[in-house]
C-alpha cells in the first residue's frame, strides 16, 4: 500500500446510537477528521425494535438512572428518539465548529447493527466508545458495531472511557514498512506536529530503516521519528512497550493481530488511556 492509499479514507463516522450526548467522543472524532482532512459524519439510529416494543400492551422500560419501571408509550418513545437525535446533532455541530471541522448528521431507523453495516465502507473510520459502565455492555452493542466495521473493511477508532493525554507522540506498531497503519500514523503525526514512535516486534534493522524511510517520505523530519522494540503483539507486550511513551494515540493494523481484535484494542486503550486506531486490512 502506498502512502497515497491513505487518502482513500473519506469519512469519520461517529455512531451515536449508544451514547447520543458523548461530547468527548465527538471531540476525538472531530480532531481526527481535522488531522486527516476527512468528512465527519454523525449517525443516530432509532432502533426499530424499540418502536415496535411500544406497541406491545405490557411493554415497560427501566429508566435510568432512577431505576424506575414505566410503561412504554409509542408517542413518548418517538419523542425521546427525536430529542436524542436533536441533541446529538446540536452537540456534534458545536464540537466540530470549535475545531473548525465541517460535520454532517444523519438519523436512520432500523436495526442498529444492520444500519451501521449498511453505511460503512472500507474508506471509513468508525469511532466507537468503550463502554463506561457495565450497563452499556448489557446490549452488546459495541461487539455488534465491531463486527459491522470489520465486516465492511472499515477502520475503527476506539476511545477509552477516559482519555489521559491530548498531546504526545503518535505510536504505531509496525511489522511491514508498507504497513497501512504506519502511513496513517505518520500522516497524523505530521499533521498534529507530533513525533512518530514506531514500535517494532524484533530487532530487524532492515525493517527499522525501511519503516523510518517510509515515515520520512511522508514528510516527518528525522528528529521526529523514533523507534522502540516491543516484546510481541499481545496487549500486555504492547502496553509494556508504551510504558514511557506518553503517546496521545496508538495505531495498529488489523494484520498485526491474529485474532480477538476487539479485546486487544480495548485492553490497550484502557491501560494507556489513549485512543487506539485499528487500521483495517486491505480486502483480499
Amino acid at each position: 500500500m502506498s502512502a497515497d492509499d491513505v487518502t482513500a479514507y473519506r469519512r469519520i463516522i461517529l455512531d451515536l446510537y449508544q451514547s447520543f450526548a458523548n461530547r468527548r467522543a465527538m471531540a476525538q472524532a472531530a480532531e481526527l477528521a481535522r488531522l486527516l482532512r476527512l468528512d465527519l459524519l454523525g449517525v443516530y439510529i432509532e432502533d426499530e425494535a424499540v418502536h415496535e416494543l411500544a406497541g406491545l400492551p405490557f411493554a415497560r422500560e427501566l429508566r435510568l438512572p432512577s431505576h424506575e419501571w414505566v410503561l412504554v408509550d409509542a408517542d413518548q418513545v418517538a419523542a425521546d428518539f427525536r430529542h436524542a437525535a436533536t441533541t446529538a446533532e446540536r452537540m456534534l455541530a458545536e464540537t466540530a465548529a470549535t475545531l473548525g471541522v465541517a460535520s454532517v448528521f444523519q438519523t436512520m431507523r432500523g436495526d442498529p447493527a444492520e444500519a451501521i453495516a449498511g453505511l460503512l465502507r472500507a474508506s471509513d473510520i468508525i469511532v466507537l466508545t468503550e463502554p463506561r459502565t457495565h450497563g452499556e455492555l448489557l446490549t452488546g452493542a459495541l461487539a455488534q458495531s465491531w463486527r459491522a466495521a470489520l465486516g465492511a473493511g472499515a477502520s475503527v477508532l476506539l476511545l477509552p472511557p477516559k482519555v489521559t493525554r491530548r498531546r504526545g507522540p503518535v505510536a504505531v506498531l509496525v511489522a511491514d514498512p508498507e504497513d497501512r497503519g504506519l502511513i496513517t500514523a505518520a500522516r497524523i503525526a505530521l499533521a498534529a506536529d507530533e513525533t512518530l514512535l514506531i514500535l517494532l516486534t524484533g530487532s530487524d534493522a532492515t525493517l527499522c530503516e525501511a519503516a523510518v524511510r517510509t515515515a520520512r517520505a511522508i514528510g516527518l523530519p528525522q528528529g521526529r521519528v523514533r523507534t522502540h522494540i516491543v516484546a510481541g503483539t499481545s496487549a500486555q507486550s504492547i502496553v509494556q512497550g508504551l510504558a514511557q511513551a506518553n503517546e496521545r494515540l496508538f495505531v495498529l493494523s488489523c494484520d498485526m493481530l491474529s485474532q480477538e481484535h476487539a479485546e486487544i484494542v480495548t485492553r490497550i486503550a484502557a491501560a494507556r488511556g489513549v485512543p487506539v486506531l485499528l487500521v483495517a486490512c486491505p480486502s483480499g
Binding site: Q18, D47, E52, H67, H134, L137, L138, T139, T164
Partner: protein
Amino acid sequence: MPSGDAHGTETSHPSSLTVSALPASRLYRGAELAGLAFATTTDLAPLDGLVGQPRASEALRFGTHIGARGFNIFAIGTSGAGVQRSVKALLEQAAAERPGAADWVYVNNFADPRRPTAIMLPSRRAPAFQKVMRALIEDLKAAIPAVFESENYQTRRSAIEEAVRSKGETAFSALRDKATAKNISILRTPTGFAMAPTQNGEVVPPDQFNAWPEEKRHETEAGIRELEKELEQTLRGIPRLEKERRDAVRALDRETARYAIGQSIDEAKGQVPDLPAVLAHLDTVRDDLVDNVYLFVNPQAAGEDGAGAAPARPGSPFDRYEVNVLVTPIDHEAGAPVVEELHPTLSNLVGRIEHLSEQGMLVTNFRLIRAGALHRANGGTILLDARSLLLEPFSWQALKRALSQREVAIEDIARFAGFATTVSLEPDPIPLDIKVILYGERILYYMLAAADPDFAQHFKVLADFDDEIDRSADSEAMLARIIGALASREGLKPFDREAVARLIEQAARLADDQGKLTLGTEKIRDLLVEAAFWAGDAKREVVNRADVDRAIDEQIRRAARVRERSAEMILRDIALIDTTGSRIGQINGLSVMSLGDFAFGRPTRITCRVHPGVGRILDIEREVELGGPLHSKGVLILSGFLAGRYALDAPISLSASLVFEQSYGGVDGDSASSTELYALLSALAETPLRQDLAVTGSVNQLGEIQAIGGVNDKIEGYFEICQARGLTGAQGVMIPQANVQHLMLRADVVAACADGRFAIYPVRAIDQGIALLTGRAAGERGTDGAYPEGSINRAVEDRLRAFAKSRRTLAGDGAAGGGDVT
C-alpha cells in the same frame, strides 16, 4: 539664715549687708579637658551604650538576668535621652553571649488543616528541615509516577480491571443468554432498557404478538416480568461492582504508593534523626502522601478520578508538604535575639495570617502565616516604644495577654471585629519565653501604673534614666568620648578640642546647671550635625568652636521669631518696661516663655497698689483666671510674710492689688513671688524701686529667697532689652543665691558683666533684695522691738499701723470693711 559662700555676700545677717554683683567667673563654667589628650575627636576612643546611668544600668542588668515571671522592664527617661539606643546597645552586647533562640516552623496539620501545627527546632535547623521536605517532594514527583507506570503495577492493575469487568460481563452475558433462550431481547431505549419478545431473532411486531394464543402471550409476558426483575437486580449490582473495582484499585495504589513513598520518607528521616517532632511529622506526611498519591500521578492513569486528592489550595498542590519557616536567625546573627519593633501594630506584634484571592474568595493556608515581633524575639528580648505601643489599637492588650498566657497566639482582629468572615486559621499558639523592655517618657510609666491594674504584674523592673550627670573632669571626658562616637557614627568631620569643650559647655547649659551635663544625646547629636555643616560651609575639615557657636546661634535664630517680636514690643514702648529710674510699687519681673524646644526670658512689669482694708492681697491674675495655682500660692505666701513680720500687735488692715501688667496669657509658677513682695513693700513703704534691675526668685514666709528655673533664659532676656537700649552699667538682674550654680550665660552677657556694664546679684533674703532695689537698708528690730528709723521695714510697719488705725477709726464711725477692692 544660711551663710553665704566665698563668692556671694558674706553675712551673718543678710539684711545688714549689701549685695555684690557676681564676678564673671561665676557666670559660666568652661570645660576642663586638660586631663584628656586629644587633638580631634578621631583621637578619642569611642564610648557608646549606657554611659553615666549607673542606676538604670543596674536595673537593666537585674531585669534582663532575672528569669522570674513578670520581671519585664520599663525604661523611662526624657525624650531624646537616647534611652532606646542605649538599651539596645546594652542588650545586643549581652545577647551575643547567650545561646541562640529556637527555630519555629509551621507545618500542615493533615488531620485539621485549619489548625496548623507548630514545631520547635534547635537554632538554625529550620531551613535544613525545609530543604529536606522539598527534596522529599521533588524526589517523589519522579519516583511515584515511575512506580505507577512500571510493568508490575500495570499488570496487577489490568488484572483487577479484568477480574471486575469479567464479573460484570458474566452477569450480563448470563442475563442475555437467559433472555435469548426465552426468546426475549434486551433493548436499549433512549432513556433506559426494555425487554421485548422475539421470534427468529427479531422482535415480534405488536400485530403478530396480539395474534398469539392468550396462554402464550401470558407465558411470554410472565417470562419478561421475571427477566425484568433479574435485569433490575443486575443493574442494581453495577454500583457494587464499580465500588469493588475502585476499592481494589485504590488498595493497589495505596500499596504501591506506600512502597514508593516509604523509601523516600526513610531517607528524609535519616537526615533528621535527632528531631522527634520532625520524625513524627514525617510519619503523618507518609500517611497523607499515601492518601493523596494522585497528586503525583495522573488521576486518569491511576484510574480513580483523582479520588481522595487534596482539596484545592492556593499555590501548588504540593504546598501542603511545605515547611513554613516562621523564625530562624539570619546568617550573621549570633546569640539570643534582640528585636526592636518600631511599628507595633497588632499584626506586627503577634503575627498575621495572610490571604490570597482565589476566584473571588479569600483563602489561606499554613504557609501564609507570618511571624510577629514576639515570635522573632522569642528566647530573647523585645524592645518596644511604649507610646507607639499604646497608640496602636489592641496591641497593648495583646502584649499583656501573651505575657499572661506565656504564648503567642496569632489574632486576626478583623475577624474578631466582624470585619471579615472569610475562612481563616487557628494556628497552634507558640510558647513564649521573652523579656519585654518598654521605653518611653516618665509620664507614660506613671499613667500606666495608676490606670492599668495589670501593669505592675507584667513590668516589675523600672529602669529610670537620669536626664543629667554630675559635672566633673571624668564626666566631661566621658562626654567628649560620646561626642567622638556620635561624630563617628554620623560620619561627621572631626571636632577639635575647643569645639568639644564648647559642646560640653552647651551640655551644661542644656542641663541649666553649671554642675551638671545633660544626657540628652539627641540634642547634642543635632548640634554636632549642624556644627559639621557650618564647618563644611566654611570649607574646614575640622569643626572648631566657632562652628559650634554658629550652630547654637543658628538654632536659636531659627526659633527666635516670637522672642524678637516680644523684644520689639518692649523697645517700641508698646509693652512698658523701664530699664532706668525708679518707681514706687513697680518692678521688673522675669518670666520664661516656652515654644516647643525653644525657651526665652522676657521682662514683665509688676505693679502693686495698697490702701487700708481687711488684710487681703488681691491677686488680679487669679481673679481673672489667668493665674495658675502655683502663682496664687506664691501670692498667698506674701500675706504670711507680712503677718509674721510686721505689726505683730494688730491685725493686718491692708488691701493690696498685684498685677502682671500687659500680661494677656496664663501665668503660673511662683518664681515672681519675691518680685511681687518687693513691689508690695515698695508700695507700703512708699519708697521707689530701681527700674534698671529685674528680679526673679520665689520667697517663703520667712523672707528667704528660693531657687527658680530658667535663670539663664531670664537673665539673657532682660540683658537683650538693656543692651538694645544701651547698657548703663547700673543694670542687672537679681537672682536667688541658690541659682548661682545654674548660671551658664551667653558669652556676651558674661563679657558685659566682666566689663561692669551689667551685673548679676545673688540674693538670699528679701531684706537684701529690698536694700539693693531701694538703696535703703531693710532694718532689724532693735531691743525695743522697733525697726530703725529710715529703714524700709520701719516704713512698712508704720504704714501698716496707720492702715490699722485708719480702719479702727473707720470701724468706730461704722464704716469698717470697705475699700479692699482695687
